[in-house]
Symmetry: C2
Subunit: 247 residues, 2 copies
DNA sequence: CGCGGAATACTTGTATGCAAGTATCCACCC
DNA sequence: GGGTGGATACTTGCATACAAGTATTCCGCG
């Protein structure tokens, strides 16, 4: 396993030269909010999107330089990320992007599956309008797949499941699910190039909405459980194809 | 509603004079770990234990002075607390302990109930030894109640439910539950003086273990749901008795 | 007495400097 | 050549100083 060398590269146009007079930071802060939050979100998105790879070492100093800010907001962001389990900080040694811990993946699967099953029971019966809304998201997923827009597919997948939670009246639970499934999401990214699998996923979505629409709770539950377990089931294969990414 | 005036009082022996030569901090750090973590845990425990009241204003400066540290670790701790929804930070205005948001209480109830029901299905059948272990915890709860040790009762309650999760093989899910139910925990603290209610809770625990031991999943599920919904059901009464604590 | 405005005293956000510890690398010795 | 020791270059943790903004308070005025 070759350590990817310390080159963080968070933002697409990173390393925008040494010219970042800190005033632009203040400007950004005025309009957009706290720089600390921005750094947090950037890092979060970079990790979830595998632009920062599992196990990759991070450096507060270098990160601060690349983003054109001081170490302080970077440190706060990293502290929050560490709390969420996305980075591992070893005092006086270094910080690394956390590897994908299979234990947490399994935990996320259990939580996601349990909560989604519990939610769908409060979502049925589904109104015709709501069902149509879900169908439309699935249709857009299909188009994204055809266009090769895997990123778009991913976002729509999130949107679909969030929508189901919202319809059940437990939208808040989706926030919790999202927080716990970061490791699982990274695993999903790894299997993303598999177009055949994506097609299957879309078919499963259709099947779930079918069951919800017809009010068949038992079938919906069975299909949701199968759906939630699909990616975690590939752990063996993925661990073989991506050594060093897992723990 | 009278704002409790800015006197944080986190540690029991707070305000230990202006004599805290910062070296003691380093000493503490050497043995105990990062001061940032200590501050985080102290604040966390203070909020959960209602020593810091809902809505109470906090001041980074004052907090740092009382704890004998600088603002930096306090800020990191507060950032993490804000992420967990325990404090509300308004830039350039102030920080307050978050009020008990009933929406989050309801969300926590849903999550706790759903996950515990899902877990118990993987916990049965319960071995005799495991059942005895749970019984022993309940017995200690009874003793704590008799001794008037409400704090001890609280800890044992946590221990019992954690144990059930552990027996189900989903101990990791307990961590998530604990993170989401902070608001709910504060509500439980408010009803803590009600000895009759506590006795009922203990009886419910007995009933749940009974059902688990006999392998009666349906009954166990029904009892767990009733148990999880007990405190949230008191929201109206509590909101009346403690105005200003809720939102 | 009521109202307006400016100075003031707070707040959090950011940048920077220093301290302490660890891993690495290179020279030196056996 | 192999092993050992020390200097060095990193790392993160903490403290402090400064910046920017907001709420308050108090004084002056009508």
């Amino acid at each position: 396993m070759t350590p990817p060398a310390r080159s963080n590269e968070v933002s697409g146009s990173a390393a925008d030269g040494p010219r970042t007079p800190a005033l632009s930071v203040i400007e950004r802060a005025r309009r957009g909010g706290r720089t600390s939050d921005k750094v947090f979100e950037q890092l979060m998105e970079a990790i979830r999107g595998l632009r920062l790879l599992p196990g990759q070492p991070l450096s507060e100093t270098e990160l601060a330089r690349e983003l054109g800010v001081s170490r302080t907001p970077v440190r706060e962001a990293i502290a929050r990320l560490a709390d969420a389990g996305l980075v591992d900080v070893v005092p006086q040694v270094g910080t690394t992007v956390s590897v994908i811990r299979l234990a947490e993946v399994e935990e996320a699967r259990f939580i996601r599956e349990s909560l989604e099953v519990a939610a769908l029971k409060d979502a049925v019966p589904l109104s015709a309008a709501d069902a149509a809304g879900l169908r439309e998201v699935i249709e857009r997923q299909r188009k994204a797949l055809d266009a090769g827009d895997l990123e778009g597919f991913f976002g729509l997948d999130e949107a679909l499941h969030e929508r189901i939670f919202t319809l059940s009246g437990h939208r808040g639970a989706w926030t919790t699910v999202q927080r716990t499934k970061v490791h699982l999401d990274r695993m999903r990214r790894l299997v993303l190039p598999d177009r055949a699998l994506i097609a299957e996923v879309i078919a499963e979505h259709d099947g779930i909405v079918d069951a919800l629409e017809s009010g068949d709770v038992a079938t919906a539950e069975r299909r949701v459980r199968a759906h939630a377990g699909r990616v975690p089931h590939l752990k063996g294969e993925l661990q073989r194809d991506f050594p060093g990414y897992f723990a």
